[in-house]
Every structure is written in structure tokens, then in C-alpha cells.
């Protein structure tokens, strides 16, 4: 009798783990019914004002194609973990937003469907952002707007010193040196030991003709030399090795940096400190004849493979709507980002003149994964490691890349 009771208990307990694993987090949409009236969406716009801006656009588009949305927002750093967890429990959303450098990694797992399956047109999109959304010749993700990096400068500080914003690396060094006084540094940038530090290095690497496929080139060493010179001469704080881009923005907004390398997504925050007047120019060039080339930032929207064809088709329609011309312009205007269709650039700049430099910068911008694809994270790790070695005086710029490659 007792043994029987024990067996029942054990059997009950044995079921517990399955019950636990079945409790996966929500947002699933793989019911095999043909009902496609609701779509689940996941994105990482979990902060205001972006959360509401994106939410309104999603709702408008949903109404247009006749579906209702169940939207979930997660913090940026948790998104990929969430996607992986959902893919193993087969509960991927119908529409998934990804940061553009992650797209190829996720596409390579086979979890996304190519947008050409649904006849989504990729006509008129800038080449760089299409490259980021492409894996093995198929486009998996499209972005309504993008961002990039440029040089912000404090107009009042420069005017008081009788200086104009720098256009070359030499000018950047002299201007930054001239503007360094007391607790105010000439320039701030992020050289932190994360992908953010690598992303901030790319404009200098690429503008100088360097390339992530060959980091041992003289062009790469020169770009690192520039950052190293700025820190060693005291024109930039030694703390840059510990600053994220929002730390950089805080320094600039507090008047502790006369110039900064940063992106337009900081503009809403900068507008909250109206006493800091700022302007933007493109990233300075090293030698005459060079073109400023910066990396493309921004998020692409994708259709995960959920096994529900009707819903996947609807999801593709939704993406078509949120990347349409009108939506691109309205999103760009509200979020201080840049439309992905170059044809809209002129119209956009006429609406938001402060975005002129960034819009020009985007015309020549490249994606991080365009050349290396899923090997980009490896290169990104080498880049930030080299930056850290050089800026802390552990190695010369040239040796830093060699050392970083050994890691």
C-alpha cells in the first residue's frame, strides 16, 4: 500500500519538470489555425518617448491591414536572450525587431523567413541597410529609419573661442586642445570595452580607408593613433575607456566636453538641457579627398518562422507598411533618425534642418555586418580590445591590434 502511494507521488513529481518547461513566457503565435487576425510583436523600444512613437505607428499599420497587435517590449540587452529562449520553446512572435548587426546571426539559425517569399519590395532602400538585412543573398529584415554617428559641438564654446567645427583629424586635435580648460575637455567619445566602443571607432577606421577585414593595416593603426593622441594629450578624458555613449552625452550636456562623437538618438535628451546649444557636422577626415564613412545603426523588422503561413504573410504586410515612405518620414521626424530611402532625404532635411549632417553621413554609411557577416562580433571584440590596450598605454596602436587578435 505504502509503496503504491510512493509510486503515485513520484509519478506526480516526475511530471513537474514538464509542467515547468511548458510555462514558457508569452507572445507565442504558432497555433496552426488559419486565423491571422492578431499578430504578436516584440521590440526593444521600452523607453519613452520611443515606446509610444513606435506603438502608434504599429497600431496605425495594423489597422490598415486589418489585424490587432499584441506588443511586448523588452530591454535591449535582453532581446537576444529572449529570442533564443522563444525559439527553443517554439513561441517566436509573428513580427520581431532586431538590432541590425544581430540580423545575420539570427537569420543563420534558420529562424527567419526571407521577405521575398511574400513579395515585399526592397526597391529604393539604401544599399548599406539592405546589406545589414541580408543573409546569403536573401533579405530578411527591413528598417524604416536608421541612425549613424557624427560630431556634435557646443556652439557657444566654439564661438567664444573663435573656432569653427573641425573637418580634418589635425583640426580635431588642435580644436580639442584649444578647448581643453579647467574641468572642460575638448572632445569626448566612447572607448568602452563593449561593442559600443567598437562602433564609435568605425567612423575613423572607415573614413581613413581601413577595414574590419584587415585590422593590421596602417589605416587602422592611424585611426587608433588619433584616439590615443587625443587621450594622451589630455584633450579627451582618460575615462573614455569606461564611458558608454550615454555617459559621453552626459559629459557634453554638463558642459564638460566641447565636442563629442555621438548619434542623433541623443538629441531628445540634449533638448532637455536647453542651455547647451549644439550643432553637428560629419566625422572629420584624415587626408584631403577622403569621404566621411560612418556605421549604420538602427533596427530591422523581421518575420520569424512560426509555422503559421497566414500570420507570416500578414506580418510581412505589416513590415511593408512600417517601411513605407510616409511612415519613414514621420518616424524619422519624431525620433531624430534618418529615412532609409535616400530619395526621401531632401524632404526630410527640409522638415528637420538640424538633421542635415547626419542625413549626409547616412548616404555613405556602411553596415557593420556587410563584409564579415556572422564573424563581425569577433572583429568587434578585437577592435575594442585593441582600443583599450592602446588608450591605457599597454601597447602601441599597431601592436594593440596584433595583441587583440591573439585573444
Amino acid at each position: 500500500m505504502e509503496t503504491k502511494r510512493l509510486r503515485v507521488t513520484l509519478a506526480t513529481l516526475a511530471v513537474v519538470p514538464f509542467a515547468l518547461t511548458a510555462c514558457s513566457s508569452g507572445g507565442g503565435g504558432n497555433a496552426s489555425t488559419a486565423d491571422a487576425s492578431t499578430l504578436s510583436v516584440i521590440d526593444y523600444y521600452n523607453n519613452e518617448p520611443e515606446k509610444t512613437i513606435i506603438g502608434e505607428v504599429l497600431d496605425e499599420c495594423a489597422a490598415e491591414i486589418g489585424v490587432t497587435l499584441e506588443r511586448q517590449t523588452v530591454p535591449g540587452k535582453d532581446l537576444i536572450q529572449k529570442v533564443l529562449q522563444q525559439s527553443s520553446s517554439k513561441t517566436l512572435p509573428d513580427v520581431l525587431m532586431l538590432d541590425n548587426p544581430d540580423l545575420q546571426e539570427i537569420a543563420s539559425t534558420g529562424g527567419l523567413s526571407p521577405l521575398s517569399d511574400y513579395g515585399v519590395s526592397t526597391e529604393g532602400f539604401a544599399k548599406g541597410i539592405l546589406e545589414a538585412g541580408t543573409y546569403e543573398g536573401e533579405v530578411y529584415g527591413l528598417a524604416p529609419t536608421v541612425n549613424t554617428l557624427g560630431l556634435f559641438y557646443n556652439t557657444e564654446i566654439l564661438e567664444a573661442a573663435g573656432l569653427t567645427p573641425p573637418t580634418t583629424w589635425d583640426e580635431l586635435k588642435t580644436t580639442a586642445a584649444a578647448l581643453t580648460t579647467g574641468d572642460q575637455y575638448g572632445v569626448a567619445f566612447s572607448a568602452v570595452a563593449t561593442y559600443e566602443g567598437s562602433w564609435q571607432f568605425l567612423p575613423f577606421l572607415w573614413t581613413n580607408g581601413g577595414d574590419e577585414t584587415d585590422l593590421n593595416s596602417p589605416e587602422a593603426a592611424e585611426a587608433l593613433q588619433l584616439q590615443t593622441d587625443l587621450v594622451n594629450s589630455g584633450s579627451a578624458s582618460k575615462s573614455v575607456v569606461n564611458w558608454s555613449q550615454s555617459d559621453v552625452k552626459d559629459q557634453f550636456a554638463a558642459g564638460k566636453a566641447a565636442m563629442m562623437v555621438n548619434g542623433p538618438w541623443q538629441i531628445p535628451a540634449l533638448n532637455e538641457t536647453p542651455d547647451v546649444k549644439w550643432g553637428t557636422v560629419q566625422i572629420p577626415i584624415n587626408k584631403a579627398g577622403q569621404t566621411p564613412v560612418a556605421p549604420l545603426g538602427g533596427e530591422v523588422w523581421t518575420v520569424p518562422v512560426t509555422g503559421n503561413d497566414a500570420k507570416q504573410a500578414k506580418a510581412a504586410e505589416l513590415i511593408e507598411c512600417i517601411t513605407s515612405d510616409d511612415v519613414q518620414l514621420s518616424l524619422a521626424e519624431q525620433r531624430f533618425t534618418i529615412p532609409t530611402k535616400p530619395a526621401l532625404a531632401e524632404e526630410f532635411v527640409s522638415r528637420v534642418p538640424t538633421m542635415e549632417a547626419f542625413t549626409e553621413q547616412v548616404a555613405n554609411a556602411r553596415s557593420r555586418t556587410g563584409k564579415l557577416g556572422t564573424d563581425w562580433p569577433q572583429a568587434a571584440t578585437e577592435i575594442y580590445t585593441a582600443i583599450q590596450l592602446s588608450l591605457t598605454g599597454q601597447a602601441s596602436p599597431k601592436d594593440a591590434f596584433t595583441q587583440a587578435a591573439e585573444g
Partner: protein
């Protein structure tokens, strides 16, 4: 049979929440476990390839050394300061109780909050600590920006975080020592330091061994403080085995390599756990 039933809940709990992750971690470290695995469910067996990757990585040596230094430095600092404070609070004095509870504050604060606060305290240019030192005419210290200082800085912050734990346990242990012992000792001329060495420490031994072993195991796996302060930088100077495990798993998505790192960490912890069991058994035998 009924006896077994009483054990069942605990046994099931351990198997589910302890056994499963440990076994999963072991198998994962023998597989090529990447982002693809989550979609396809396929994780090819690769034998000890992940361990080879870990052991041949140029970061393994420094990370291992940093883990040892970080643990040793933190434990010594936490324990010495914790014991001093606990002894101090043994005396009855006005507001003693309130002060003792205030001491627990670092323990109650979320690490994410305290590490952000410490980051601004330790800031090289405008940080309060360097301003304070500047008042004495000292040059600003590159707390978090110099590879030779950063490890010391994260150890200092971890000591600050760990003091309450040490004080709480040691204070409890001190309360257990009968007052008569000190009275008898005083008659024999043992006061002050003498009393501390010959009465307090021997009687605290069992508590000390618990505090030290738990402290070591906790400190070995510290991750959030380092991520919050330096993210393993500058120039990899604050990389530890725990940070490597996290970065390989959740930054590079090399879950096999990440779990190999954490298994090495578990192995190191096990050594201390065995020492702990040994010490305790001896205490019981006595």
C-alpha cells in the same frame, strides 16, 4: 517507506533546481552549443574542444589570476574589517543598535545601484573620492581607467559590499561566547589583545570557518559588481572566470565555451566546499 516520503520534497527540489542545471552545464560544455542550437535543437558533441579553447585562450591565465587575487583580497578585507566592526559593536553604547542596522545597508542595496554609485565616486575627473584626495594635495587616482589600479578598485567595492555579511555572522558568533570566560580570563591577567587571541578567536572558530568558506564561494562567482564597474576592462585587467563565462555565453553566444568556464569555476568552489566539510567534521568529532 514513509521515511522516504519525508525526504522526497527536498530530494525533488535538489534534483530540479540544483541537479538539472549542473548536469546541463556539464553536457553543454561538451557540445558545440550556439544560437543555432536554440532553433534546430542540434548541439553536436565535441568532446573537450571547449575546454581546449578555454585553456589555450590568452585570457585564461590572467582571468584565473585575477579571480584568485580578487577572491583573496576581498575575503581578507571583508573578514578583517567585519571582525573589527563586530567586536566594536559588542560593547553596549548609545545608538549601537541603530548603527549596526545601518551597517547592513550595502547588503540591501541592489548591486546595480551600488556599482553605478561607486562608478561615479571613483570617476577620475569629477569623482568625489579624487576630489577628497585632491584636498590633501594628492594627484587624481585613475581608479577605473588604469589597468594597474582597476582590479584594486573592484576589490575595494566588493569589500564594501561584503562587510555586512561578515559583521552579521561574526557578531552573532561573538554573542555566543559566554561572558564568564572573559571574567575568568581577566582574573588570570588576560585582557585586551590577550583576551582576543586566547578567548575570542578559539571560541569563534566554527563561525569563522563558515564565514570564510561561504565568503570564498560567493566571491568566486561575483559578476555583477565587475560588469557594473568596468565590464572586465580596462584592457581586460578585471577579467575573471565569472566574467569570461558570462561574456562567452551572452555576448559571444558561445554557450559551450561559457559553460566550460563556469565548470572550471565550480571545480574551484568544490575544493573549498570539501575543505569546509572537512573542517566541520573535525569540529563535530571533537
Amino acid at each position: 517507506m514513509t521515511k522516504l516520503l519525508f525526504v522526497a520534497p527536498a530530494a525533488v527540489y535538489i534534483v530540479l533546481f540544483f541537479g538539472y542545471p549542473v548536469v546541463k552545464n556539464l553536457t553543454m560544455s561538451l557540445q558545440e552549443y550556439t544560437t543555432k542550437t536554440f532553433f534546430t535543437g542540434e548541439a553536436p558533441w565535441v568532446g573537450f574542444a571547449n575546454y581546449t579553447t578555454v585553456l589555450t585562450s590568452s585570457l585564461f591565465g590572467p582571468a584565473f589570476l585575477n579571480t584568485a587575487l580578487f577572491t583573496l583580497g576581498s575575503i581578507v578585507g571583508q573578514f578583517v574589517i567585519g571582525l573589527a566592526l563586530a567586536s566594536f559593536f559588542r560593547r553596549r553604547f548609545p545608538l549601537g543598535g541603530i548603527l549596526r542596522s545601518l551597517l547592513l545597508l550595502p547588503w540591501l542595496l541592489p548591486i546595480i545601484v551600488s556599482s553605478a554609485t561607486w562608478r561615479s565616486i571613483l570617476d577620475q575627473d569629477g569623482g568625489i573620492l579624487n576630489r577628497f584626495l585632491g584636498g590633501f594635495g594628492l594627484d587624481p587616482v585613475p581608479w577605473l581607467t588604469s589597468p594597474s589600479v582597476a582590479l584594486i578598485s573592484v576589490i575595494i567595492v566588493n569589500i564594501w559590499v561584503g562587510i555586512p555579511f561578515n559583521v552579521a555572522l561574526l557578531y552573532g558568533g561573538l554573542q555566543e561566547i559566554p561572558e564568564e570566560l572573559y571574567e575568568a580570563g581577566a582574573l588570570d591577567g588576560a585582557t585586551g589583545w590577550n583576551a582576543f587571541w586566547h578567548i575570542t578567536l578559539p571560541n569563534l572558530k566554527p563561525v569563522i570557518s563558515v564565514v570564510l568558506v561561504l565568503g570564498v564561494v560567493y566571491t568566486l562567482k561575483v559578476l555583477d559588481i565587475i560588469l557594473g564597474l568596468t565590464n572586465g576592462g580596462p584592457a581586460n585587467s578585471t577579467q575573471t572566470l565569472a566574467v569570461r563565462s558570462y561574456q562567452e555565453s551572452f555576448v559571444n553566444f558561445e554557450f559551450g565555451v561559457g559553460s566550460a568556464y563556469s565548470n572550471i569555476l565550480i571545480l574551484v568552489s568544490l575544493v573549498f566546499a570539501v575543505i569546509y566539510l572537512r573542517v566541520n567534521r573535525r569540529a563535530v568529532d571533537e
